[in-house]
Subunit: 339 residues, 3 copies
């Protein structure tokens, strides 16, 4: 179903291919079910030659009426699918779908090579297999690792190191940074500019030189137009496999652990540290110099003003344990008679 | 009054020109009033040869003391203007002003032509009358419609279609998208990058290929540094005539109807649909998979966590009907004795 | 301690150098203390040849155990430092540190000169000592002042004036603007695009030509990916020495005074005026057409819906005097039994 102008499909896969790719188990195949599939699709749009997934109960009605030939689904819902849809049973339907969709649509390979219209300083080091597109600028001493892809109009600053198999999107800028392998940075993200550091003074604010770097570890994704300032002295560090959405602000000296998820418009103030596998939902703000633990979840728009221990879920401004916040919301709704 | 370095004025207009352009009616002209006008201006800055408008009661004192030669004004306020100011009476003073200002300052025409310093793939299709400025990059298979204007350092991705009479601002990036006619995209907006889609997994988040597109319909305006992610499978769609301000985040699969107004810093999460003529004020956040109706208004900074039916006005986090929220605010202010 | 790949250190300084640079006073030097210093560093990372500072009580334990050779510190804390650390006593330790760090790491000088890979209109005026990097675009009639530095892929619009000693960062865009001396604009900021102005109309929103400019006065700093729209008629004005962080939205006609601090993700709506030395913390939203005084402080995530007199501190949505808001928070916490 994907528009061929933009996406290239690797072709038909058999039921056994799909089971192997996805790790899903098979519920017995019934009469008149398909055994080969040309594409993935959403429940609503799927045709009999497509594979879909059911992962969010909001879409239960769509699952009941889908025309998909097969559908990844959890064991407890496997019986809701129509007869013509094969239930591909797995405890992680979305993961199974992700792996299958990747097999139909692997990441595109760039048209390898260095554009004559890129501006590359002769002192830069460009490894084998690197693609650099028209309008990109690679400054003195920069080092681009094997098979990395620098898209049009991206600018890689002096002595910046980009690891192997990275993709630096269109119009991204990177300075004062070390980017490890397999990192992807989306369009317009700003990495490594000075943090917002100054001494307030009646004669005019006095700039504090920002002498740290940005370190982005392996397998991170950094969203479009997101800004990550370099450290003031210590480094700003993004841990392995952390995913950051669009328009996020990461201030100087922030250290984020592994596997975190930082949703759009989040702002994290200077010198705050965050553990591993923590999730900050959209538009959350976190004050500076705090310690947010591992496995923490913070609800959308919350304002975090105090440390949060490992594993807690917080909500509200000021953020508090979600149970307490829900009680406060319920209390006000009751007393005022919200309809 | 506009700085001639930046704006070109089409010249003096007579009172009858202005009435025709604006559709305003005329209150009887008094002695010593002007009958031709060289420019538009604000109430405070206007001189006798200028036309102004009064539309916001906050500026009533300015209207009483303006030196403008003429002023668009609603019937109920027409008598507050000074004697030397002609009342140009209309129920829609701001619209009348907009039309008049457009006649003094029509949108600039670009210096038509293709810059030798643009990087255009030979397989791109460039229609008649297109302007492409220095540093712009047009990739393989892209299709730019008649009289469209691609500004400096903008990057148009592979096979992207841009309609007629579009203006794609400086440093904008577009990929995986179909842009219809008469769309304007402001500086630094990011259209069509991958949505934030992955299956969370202990071994590392697994990317879900983002196989949809962005469709921007006719007459939309997309603000500076705004990000619109492409769909995960379905498309992300912006309806005809919808205006989006700066630094807005539109996630994958979001569908927005016609004539909506989305103010700065709004974030709309994935798969949410919004009807027609709905207004989201600044910094509003909307959760994913919701249905927001037509004619809805959501107050600034609200956090929308549930569906909203047509025509309702909501406020607060969590967002509720504005009357209920105002009661809650009043209750707390009363009980605590806010001064 | 700063990475030599990115920062160039001016070399060892003696104790008397440091006292002169910083204006700090000296507590009597003890045996075994160092009298020359090679670098600045944070309390935790500092070695005996380094100078550090103690300014935030959260880091008191770090001050007690630092290995720094010297440390800027306020008189009341001077006795907490280890014996081997010289107390450099000052009422403004952070300012003293800033000045000292500047002396070790002065702002880098660009590799002066005009890149052959920049695109400069022949009618532009380029003063002596200007640096223009590869991929930058300078349009017709633009005027770049002495010793200013236009980084890669920045685009300076028609007739824009940039003062002396400015630094316009990578991928910045400026149009319809006058930038005074000593201004620094960080990567990806958007200055001077049209404000979000239109008359709502059933036939489609009608654009109001945006006929003002952006004026940025001396010594301002404008953060990465921040957007400052030009005025609708009046100008949008940023006062001398005001610092604006990343991803901030400044709407048309906003006027900000001198020495203000505007933190990341703040949005200021159209025609609002702000006095001098006012601080808006992160994610604050300010409605349009308001008057915010001088010396005002607004806490993070607050939503300002009314004028604020000089000198007040406000918090919350809707924003109110901080004392009242704190009472409301305490009341709810008490009644619901927050733990």
């Amino acid at each position: 179903m994907a528009d061929k102008a933009f996406f290239k499909n690797t072709g038909v896969k058999t039921l056994s291919d799909v089971l192997e790719i996805s790790g899903a188990a098979l519920v017995q195949v019934k009469l008149n079910q398909t055994d080969s599939f040309s594409d993935v699709s959403s429940l609503n749009d799927a045709k009999p030659e497509h594979i879909s997934f059911f992962d969010n109960v909001k879409y239960k009605d769509d699952a009941k009426t889908t025309s998909a030939g097969a559908c990844f689904i959890s064991p407890e819902h496997a019986d809701i699918l129509p007869d013509a849809t094969i239930a591909l049973v797995t405890k992680t339907p979305y993961k199974a779908y992700a792996l299958t969709a990747q097999s139909y649509y692997p990441e595109p390979n760039p048209d390898a090579g260095i554009s004559a219209q890129a501006h590359i300083d002769p002192s830069a080091t460009i490894a084998d297999g690197v693609t650099i597109e028209a309008g990109a600028v690679i400054k003195a001493g920069a080092d681009i690792g094997e098979n990395s892809w620098i898209e049009s109009n991206a600018v890689i600053g002096k002595n910046v190191k980009i690891g192997a198999r990275c993709r630096v999107g269109v119009a991204v800028t990177v300075s004062h940074a070390i980017i490890k392998d397999d990192v992807r940075i989306y369009t317009g993200a700003r990495i490594g500019q000075d943090g917002f550091g100054f001494a307030i003074d009646p004669s005019g604010h006095i700039k504090v030189p920002q002498l740290g770097r940005v370190i982005i570890n392996e397998h991170c994704e950094i969203g479009a137009n997101t800004t990550i300032d370099r450290g003031a002295g210590p480094d700003t560090i993004i841990g392995q496999g952390t995913w950051i959405d669009n328009l996020v602000q990461i201030a100087h000296n922030v250290q984020i652990g592994r596997g975190c998820v930082i949703v759009a418009h989040v702002g994290i103030s200077g010198s705050t540290t965050i553990g591993d596998f923590t999730v900050l939902a959209g538009q959350v703000g976190v004050a500076g110099h705090l310690k947010i633990g591992s496995g923490v979840q913070v609800g959308a728009q919350s304002g975090v003003m105090r440390n949060i221990p490992d594993g807690e879920t917080h909500l509200g401004t000021p953020a508090m344990k979600i149970r307490d916040k829900m009680k406060q919301i319920a209390y006000l709704n009751k007393i005022v008679g919200r309809r």
